[in-house]
């Protein structure tokens, strides 16, 4: 049903149990140019029908993490820091979209950010720092 709202998109392959629990998430494009979409359903919202901050931040961690994986050749990474801003309310039935950006990539760290939109209107931003595991 969600797929029909998102022509051309396919389901993102997720491996983390918590991401599978929050998903499904959809994507379009290839590699680092992938864009991601989360159709907001009843599981993601609070009693007022607005998205829970935790659902938004999990989608941020998931989508930026995919970009970090693409940038590092699927290296083992861990979120070290995430800063988020909640600009507008997101409701059940909205489709959140993001095109993650890799801001900088060093030997030990990857910086990633995303502008999250609903119907092209900016609703949420996230910037994050990821550590490449196994590096000094």
């Amino acid at each position: 049903m969600s797929m029909s709202l998102l022509p051309g998109y396919r389901q993102t392959e997720l491996v983390d149990p918590f991401e599978i629990f929050i998903g499904p998430v959809y994507e379009i494009g290839e590699g680092l140019a992938r864009r991601y979409a989360l159709p907001v359903d009843a599981r993601h919202v609070n009693m007022g029908g607005r998205i829970h901050g935790g659902a938004l931040m999990t989608f941020a961690d998931l989508s930026l993490g995919q970009a970090v994986w693409d940038a590092t050749g699927r290296a083992a990474v861990a979120t070290t820091n995430m800063q988020t801003q909640f600009l507008r309310a997101v409701q059940i039935g909205d489709v959140l979209e993001v095109a993650p950006q890799i801001t900088r990539h060093t030997r030990t760290l990857v910086f990633a950010r995303g502008d999250y939109t609903v119907n092209r209107e900016l609703v949420f931003t996230a910037q994050s720092v990821w550590k490449l595991l196994g590096e000094n």
């Binding site: 983390d16 149990p17 993601h44 829970h52 901050g53 083992a76 820091n81 800063q83 801003q85």
Partner: protein, 141 residues
């Protein structure tokens, strides 16, 4: 993996009664400390909270922080409606399956319409995260 059954800390009361909180939960509120200046919450890390490498997912930790700060905002202000404005989280250590993960939340500053909050997330063994959040109070009681 845990060898013995995990027990909740004393005084734990169910805090996740509907919506996303109930979906990811159960989450619990623990008795206040320091004459109410510290609000406390906890959950037991379950299989659906994990990432593939066997540690608690950052999204779950941020969700728990969001719940802890939102609930604290409502408790402190009496407001029914609150909204997250911003949250910054440092992930300093891993959480493991079966561990009791706790939060301690303090108010850094309270204005008429905003609340600045600080939280520590930890287990009995180690610190997992520190976070600073800004919350908007939509309507006071």
């Amino acid at each position: 993996m845990v060898d013995s059954p995990v027990t909740l800390p004393e005084g734990a009361e169910l805090a996740s009664t509907g919506g996303f909180n109930a979906y990811i939960g159960p989450l619990y509120r623990l008795p206040d400390e320091e004459d109410g200046a510290v609000k406390r919450f906890c959950f037991i890390a379950a299989p659906h909270h994990m990432n593939a490498s066997g540690t608690v997912h950052g999204g779950m930790l941020m969700s728990f922080i969001d719940v802890s700060m939102s609930r604290t905002t409502r408790l402190v202000t009496g407001a029914q409606r609150t909204a997250t404005v911003s949250l910054a989280t440092d992930f300093v250590g891993p959480g493991r399956l079966g561990e009791v993960i706790q939060s301690r939340v303090r108010i850094s500053r309270k204005t008429r319409s905003m609340l600045f909050l600080a939280a520590e997330i930890f287990t009995s063994e180690r610190k997992l995260a520190v976070a600073n959040g800004l919350w908007k109070v939509s309507e006071a009681a």
